[in-house]
């Protein structure tokens, strides 16, 4: 700190703790100590308080002791002369600020003041409020309010991206930029680098959220820009997110503050970007963030704190906006963001994609509505497909992009057109098995362009192009430019040449479709033949070890990674791309137990990969030495002993399960690299695998599953039912629409004739 900052931060902390005490006193008298307090859809209570103190706050009456602790961390401001040291004291005051801020937000949830209302505002994806206990007793529509706290569902679904580096970190942006243009450009620069933006605070009543809203920037989970609230206090949600990262992926427990803070310093690449005047409260919140190892960068003149230690690099950096080199706001924003990245040591991989619209993963979730649409390809009125195949090196001209047929100008406004995207790649390390792996990337690559929406795959592809993108000059050839650039940057190790042909001529589209469909069929058969017994090596996946140090996934052809993002072929391709990377082949060696799925090779690897924590792993059982999980799992399975079966909960399901716990609570037991018989995190496509807990009786053991899984995988589950010899099987499985307690479950299963009831005891 400097004395200037210490003085303000400590003053701000004293004020906020006082404010929290007054609010709490009022709330206790108006609502009573037994009033429940909670943030939506999280198993981590009030997460910063839980992480730092270990207290599982559930009622207003439990909050006073938190504020007692906060007050004990306060200090007087440094003297004007002959001062005593203030760094430790300021950091403690910062922590007091966080405890007070979270207390205040919790009280605001009680009063229905969170999420903050903002008439006319529409979230592009956000926390859902399904519990009737929330928001003063009613379901909140997805618009008219900001996001408030981030729920566990979103935390987990971002998990894999945070750990594999696609999402290099997050920016807690507090305040208001010097102009709306600057606000947009700063956020665009962060989005371009796939850095998650958390927005809060204001200057003089005007918030960056207002600025972006005024400029028509979509805000919400889908665009990696989460509007927390227009005051500084709401920035606490960013630290709640950080705390939960350590609890979810780091295997840490509440009440381990030092470990949680160090975990964040070492593994969570976040920083605070303070826009506009920094007041006492912002300084005190920033002091709280510095405890997490998150540095502060300001676009105004503030004292710099350049020595390192609490943060990995500089603590506080001032980059006054007027003094940033740059001809315009875009250039200044780029330099500012560049500095943030440098100060936090964020590792950013950016493919330079030569298209006239902003580009980055942050735009993957953008929706193009009919009204904003310039043209679409596929969907109801036209046909669109994509097909990637390998070719010989001398057959291709790298970078060649050919458009055959009509251009965009020939399509009427909001009209549609047939399109085929044909990609040919060549490289010495390329294998035919990698074709589908690469082809699946088209979805992400194309979606990265702002104003382009890509849905589906293969011959059900559906692409929309917004008016804004078209006005910016986006044309058909740019699809090719994106794919060329991204395949080189992401798969450069196996791809040397990329050539793209865009066909809009309907007859030609039709002709090429036949070829593509033959290839799709061939690949389906290849996949069906690709069983665990047909290969002699599985792959390890230690991508998540940066977050969950002792967890290791073992990925086999019939069991994909629990995150759902990596199957055996993906791992194989990944190994080719990076032979020393997170996916390593595991030579199976002698088979020890074909039923439970033990090999000498997998056991040996489990020991090494988990640093001795896990001794053995059964590939096909939940009951004996089940595979561990990081925290990014798509589903959690858990034994229901009374029903002689298991339940499967989707991470998208926030409702109560027969285990008496919601997904969020269950996740605390399943994550962190700990082996717990009867509990397992899995990828949802493992459910349809013939090897799905085959040692324990297979799919027939599933007595309950979230309806979102039943609906989302209806086709696949139908095939499973047929394979299991009972076409009605899926209907015999309960879900949250029918049953939410174990007492209800048993009669329901009997009524519907579930096979698990008559199977051998699972235990």
């Amino acid at each position: 700190m400097s004395r200037y900052i210490a003085t303000r931060a400590i003053r701000g902390a004293n004020a906020l703790v006082g404010e929290a005490e007054a609010m709490l006193e009022q709330a206790l008298s108006e609502k009573g100590p037994d009033t429940p307090v909670a943030f939506p859809n999280t198993a981590y209570h009030l997460p910063v308080i839980f992480g730092m103190t270990g207290k599982e706050i559930a009622h207003l009456g439990e909050l006073p002791e938190i504020l007692v602790q906060a007050r004990s961390l306060l200090h007087p401001t440094p003297s004007r002369e002959h001062w005593t040291p203030y760094l430790g004291e300021t950091l403690d005051s910062g922590m007091a600020t966080l405890l007070a801020a979270e207390t205040i937000e919790a009280i605001r949830y009680v009063y229905g003041l969170q999420p903050e209302s903002m008439p006319g505002f529409e979230l592009a994806g956000g926390t859902s409020f399904t519990s009737p206990d929330m928001n003063g007793g009613g379901n909140q529509p997805p618009n008219g309010h900001l996001n408030g706290a981030i729920d566990d569902i979103q935390l987990r679904s971002w998990g894999i991206q945070l750990v594999d580096g696609r999402m290099p970190g997050f920016a807690a942006i507090v305040g208001c930029a010097s102009s709306n243009e600057a606000a947009v450009q700063i956020v665009r620069e962060l989005q371009r680098r796939n850095i998650l933006c958390f927005l809060s605070g204001n200057v003089n009543g005007h918030s960056i959220i207002d600025q972006l809203h005024e400029e028509g920037v979509e805000l919400g989970y889908d665009t990696y820009t989460v509007p927390f609230g227009t005051d500084t206090i709401s920035a606490i949600y960013a630290l709640g997110f950080a705390t939960r990262s350590a609890l979810t992926f780091g295997g840490l427990k509440g009440g381990q503050p030092r470990e949680i803070l160090n975990y964040n310093k070492d593994r969570v690449f976040a920083f605070v970007l303070a826009l506009g005047e920094v007041d006492d409260l912002k300084y005190s919140a920033a002091a709280g963030a510095i405890n997490f190892g998150f540095p502060v960068i300001a676009d105004t003149v503030i004292p710099q704190i350049l020595p390192t230690g609490i943060t990995t690099y500089e603590h506080v950096v001032s980059m006054p906006w007027n003094e940033i080199d740059g001809a315009n706001d875009t250039e200044k924003a780029e330099r500012l963001v560049q500095k943030c990245i440098e100060v936090r040591g964020v590792k950013v991989r950016v493919a330079n994609v030569p298209v006239p619209v902003p580009y980055g993963s942050a735009f993957e979730g953008e929706v193009v509505r009919k009204a904003d649409m310039r043209a679409e390809f596929g969907g109801r009125d036209s046909r669109c497909f994509e097909y990637l195949k390998m070719a010989k090196l001398d057959e291709l001209t790298d970078g060649k992009i050919e458009v055959i047929g009509r251009g965009l100008s020939d399509v009427p406004d909001q009209g549609s057109m047939d399109m085929a995207i044909l990609i040919e790649v060549a490289g010495r390390q390329m294998e035919q098995d990698f074709e589908p792996v690469l082809e699946r990337q088209i979805h992400y690559f194309v979606n990265g362009a702002s104003g382009i929406q890509h849905i589906g795959q293969r011959d059900i592809t559906w692409i929309r192009l917004s008016t804004k993108a078209a006005e910016a000059g986006f044309d058909m050839e740019h699809f090719g430019k994106i794919l060329h650039a991204r395949f080189h940057s992401d798969f450069g190790a196996i791809v040397d040449k990329v050539q793209v042909t865009i066909i809009t001529e309907p007859e030609e589209v039709e002709a090429r479709l036949e070829e593509a469909r033959a290839a799709y069929d061939f690949r389906n058969k290849r996949l069906a033949d690709l069983t665990d017994t047909a290969v002699d090596e599985f792959y390890s996946c230690t991508l998540c070890q940066s977050f969950a140090p002792n967890h290791v996934c073992i990925v086999s052809p019939e069991r994909l990674g629990l995150c759902g993002a990596y199957n055996w072929l993906d791992c194989k391709a990944s190994f080719s791309i990076n032979p020393t990377g997170p996916n390593q082949p595991i030579k199976l060696g002698r088979i020890i137990d074909p039923v439970r799925g033990y090999w000498e090779g997998t056991n040996a690897y489990a020991r090494i990969g988990s640093h001795g924590v896990v001794e053995e792993v059964a590939m096909y059982s939940i009951m004996e030495n089940p595979m561990t999980a990081c925290g990014c799992f798509e589903c959690i399975m858990m034994l229901i002993p009374e029903a002689n079966g298991v339940m499967v909960v989707s991470r998208e399901d926030t409702s109560m399960t027969p285990a008496g716990m919601t997904f969020s609570t269950l996740a605390g037991m399943a994550g962190g690299g700990i082996q717990t018989p009867g509990v397992m995190g899995v990828g949802k496509y493992y459910l349809i695998s013939p090897k799905f807990i085959s040692a324990d009786g297979g799919f027939k053991r599933v007595v309950w599953m979230s309806s979102v899984l039943k609906d989302g995988m209806a086709e696949e589950l139908k095939m499973v039912a047929e394979r299991e010899g009972d076409a009605e099987l899926i209907d015999r499985v309960a879900d949250e629409r029918s049953v939410t307690t174990v007492e209800e479950l048993l009669p329901w299963l009997e009524e519907n004739g579930h096979p698990a009831l008559t199977m051998d005891p699972i235990i």
Binding site: M1, S2, R3, Y4, A6, M52, L73, P78, S79, E81, H82, W83, T84, P85, Y86, L87, G88, E89, T90, L91, D92, G94, M95, S178, P257, R258, L261, N262, G276, E277, N291, D299, T300, V301, I302, P303, Q304, I305, L306, P307, T308, G309, I310, H315, P320, W321, N322, E323
Partner: protein
């Protein structure tokens, strides 16, 4: 500083300005001259040191001698060679120093035991966290145990360390792993405090150990029993009983004496009495008693390390360092000087007789002929402390003319290693990482511990402050204890302000970030063990090598005089530190006349460096000490692979720009202020 070091010229009295750089001391020396009174300064001028004894060439261990070994090849009557004689003298000095610190530690352990048993009036366990922390290091069960139980066990363990015969002293477990291994391999891990001291006396008796390097090995073992034994125990227990120091505002120099109050100066080393004096001096009954005597109250102050003990815990002012004990009496304003052990000049009594000042001895171990003796015992501590104060108050009416120099400086002492750890990260992130980072980056070039006495043969405070001043400009962080710290305090180096304008650019950034003075006052001389702990924690934090000798750090005692200083120097060297002492070398010999007389000097230099990684040197010239300090630090930086020191990279942190803006914007409107926050608009 344009001034120069002056050592005692023969047969010539120095002027007050030549004798001390402290204006308060100068004023009192002038007064002494006027009154025709002698002080240690004038006695040093009048009494030339024995030239043979000073270089370690005299053996007076038995009645066959004393033997003066001034010729090449000469031996004592028994045949002892010059290096044997020097080594024996050195070992005996170290044993005395180790004994002094350790006996202090022993008394602290006994006090802890008495407090745990409720047998010590007025004492309490003030720092339960430290008690638990220390006890846990030794496997003493703490969970579910009352502080008194833990204290009882810890006291028992600590008491046994003095009489222990075999094994190793328990505090040694706190040393870096590699260091412990080295000591074990060399056979110098101390077994028991008393055993090492007794063995030192035995081995140096006539006709025993007569191999200089073997003797010097025992000097190391005896010194380690001090640094990683007796002294460490003393510091631990003091913190447990009186509180671990944390920064507090204090004052130093003779100007802290009060014209209208009863001045009581505590002098010596042990905090047991002085802490109780602090409590008693705030007692309403005593204050009323003082007022009844016509004084405004009682002004307590300290001299020497007792001063440091109460300064860093309660902010009680320090009247001065070792050489100021007589000068305080010369003010005529001291009603009583209350002394316990160590560094108390016998001259005080004769001098006090010229004034109304009462010299009150309190330790059962220390009496001075002519002084008043009020024996202290912890069972009646508070009562005795009050009696002492009442004696002082009763003496107030006898006060005659007074002259209190109008010089005092503020300071912020109290940098225990626990607080240093806290200040670098707060309750949640406390660690030495920021300090190690600052050294690794080169903001802090290295660390110098400047400690030890003042010595009337060396210009008072000059070496301490000359070296401190220059090292700060060179971005060397300075930690100090004992009389050295008081010297720096008087020069206002112990203030946050000094961290802004009296330091190099990198160190300034660190001072401003943490809010620290560039010189950290870590306590009394017994607290040099805190420095060992800091060095160990720096090693454990990582990035600066795996043992103390890898750290870019030096130890300096530029005005040393006591045998305790030799013990401290030896345990620091054995812990891996390069130590430079200012003034005479007790084993210097006369290389020009007796070639063998430099063998021991070579042994403690090159020899010890090879064995322990640290070396011991004695140097006259503070400039040479500065040069060697920087050369050593730079060499250690290079050995660690750290970037070469380059101050031009640093200095961009801090409040300066904001302060300037604030000034400039005095009349500005809110909007203008807001606009200015975005910085200068480029003019082109």
């Amino acid at each position: 500083m344009a001034e120069e070091a002056t050592t005692t010229p023969r047969n010539k009295r120095r002027t007050p300005e030549e004798a001390s750089i402290d204006p308060a001391a100068q004023e009192m020396l002038t007064l002494a001259d006027l009154m025709g009174l002698g002080t240690a300064f004038s006695r040093a001028d009048d009494l030339a040191p024995c030239t043979i004894g000073a270089v370690g060439m005299c053996c007076s261990l038995c009645a066959m001698g004393p033997c003066r070994l001034t010729k090449d090849g000469g031996t004592g009557i028994c045949g002892a060679t010059i290096d044997t004689v020097q080594a024996r003298n050195f070992v005996r000095s170290v044993a005395a120093g180790s004994a002094a610190h350790s006996d202090h530690g022993r008394d602290m352990a006994f006090t802890l035991k008495a407090v745990a048993n409720g047998e010590a009036q007025g004492y309490a366990i003030r720092d339960i966290a430290k008690l638990r922390n220390v006890a846990a290091k030794y496997g003493i069960p703490i969970e579910g145990h009352a502080p008194e139980e833990i204290a009882n066990e810890l006291a028992d363990l600590y008491i046994t360390q003095f009489g222990q015969q075999r094994g190793s002293l328990v505090p040694v477990v706190r040393a870096p792993e590699r260091r412990k291994k080295l000591w074990d391999e060399l056979g110098v891990t101390p077994r028991g405090v008393d055993r090492e001291v007794v063995e030192a006396l035995h081995r140096t008796h006539m006709g025993d150990d007569q191999d200089a390097s073997h003797l010097m090995q025992h000097a190391v073992r005896t010194a380690l029993a001090d640094g990683w034994g007796g002294s460490m125990i003393a510091t631990d227990v003091s913190d447990i009983l009186f509180g671990t120091p944390a920064p507090v505002l204090g004052e130093a120099n003779l100007g802290v004496l009060k014209a209208d109050m009863v001045n009581v100066v505590v002098h010596g080393h042990e905090p047991t009495l002085s802490q109780m004096m602090v409590a008693a001096s705030q007692d309403p009954e005593i204050i009323a008693y003082a007022k009844a005597a016509g004084a405004e109250g009682i002004a307590l102050s300290g001299i020497c390390c007792t001063a440091n003990e109460i300064l860093m815990r309660q902010g009680i002012p320090a009247a001065g360092n070792f050489l100021q004990q007589e000068l305080a009496i010369l003010t005529g304003a001291v009603e009583a000087m209350v002394v316990d052990v160590q560094c108390i000049m016998q001259a005080l009594v004769a001098l006090a007789e010229r004034f109304h000042t009462k010299i009150i001895t309190t330790s059962p171990k220390v009496r001075i002929k002519g002084a008043t003796h009020i024996e202290f015992d912890e069972a009646h501590a508070l009562t005795i402390a009050k009696d002492v104060l009442k004696t002082a108050v009763d003496n107030y009416q006898n006060r005659a003319k007074i002259q209190i120099p109008d010089f005092k400086s503020s300071l912020i002492p109290g940098f225990s290693h626990e607080y240093i750890n806290y200040m670098l990260g707060g309750s949640y992130r406390a660690s030495f990482r920021p300090l190690n980072d600052a050294i690794i980056s080169g903001r802090i070039r290295g660390v110098a511990a400047i400690v030890g006495c003042t010595n009337p043969r060396i210009r008072h405070d000059f070496n301490h402050t000359t070296i401190t001043e220059e090292l700060l400009k060179q971005d060397v962080l300075v930690v100090e204890t004992g009389c050295s710290a008081i010297a720096s305090a008087k020069m206002s180096f112990l203030l946050g302000e000094a961290g802004l304008d009296r330091v190099g650019p990198g160190l300034r950034e660190v001072c401003e970030t943490v809010g620290i003075p560039p010189v950290l006052h870590m306590g009394s001389c017994v607290d040099n063990t805190r420095i060992l702990t800091v060095l160990t924690q720096m090693v454990e934090e990582g990035g600066l090598g795996d043992d103390i000798d890898a750290i870019p750090a030096v130890g300096l005692a530029p005005e040393w005089m006591s045998e305790k200083a030799l013990s401290i120097a030896t345990y620091c060297v054995a812990s891996g530190v390069y130590v430079m002492m200012g003034g005479y070398n007790p084993v210097e010999g006369r290389g020009d006349k007796v070639p063998d007389s430099v063998l021991v000097s070579e042994l403690i230099g090159d020899g010890w460096e090879e064995t322990y990684g640290g070396r011991l040197e004695f140097l006259d010239d503070p400039q040479e000490m500065i040069r060697r300090t920087l050369a050593h630090i730079d060499a250690k930086r290079a050995a660690l692979g750290l970037s070469a020191y380059d101050p031009t990279q640093f200095g961009r942190s801090g409040d300066a720009r904001l302060d300037a803006m604030e000034e400039e914007m005095g009349e500005a409107t809110l909007d203008e202020r807001r606009a200015a926050l975005y910085g200068q608009v480029p003019t082109s």
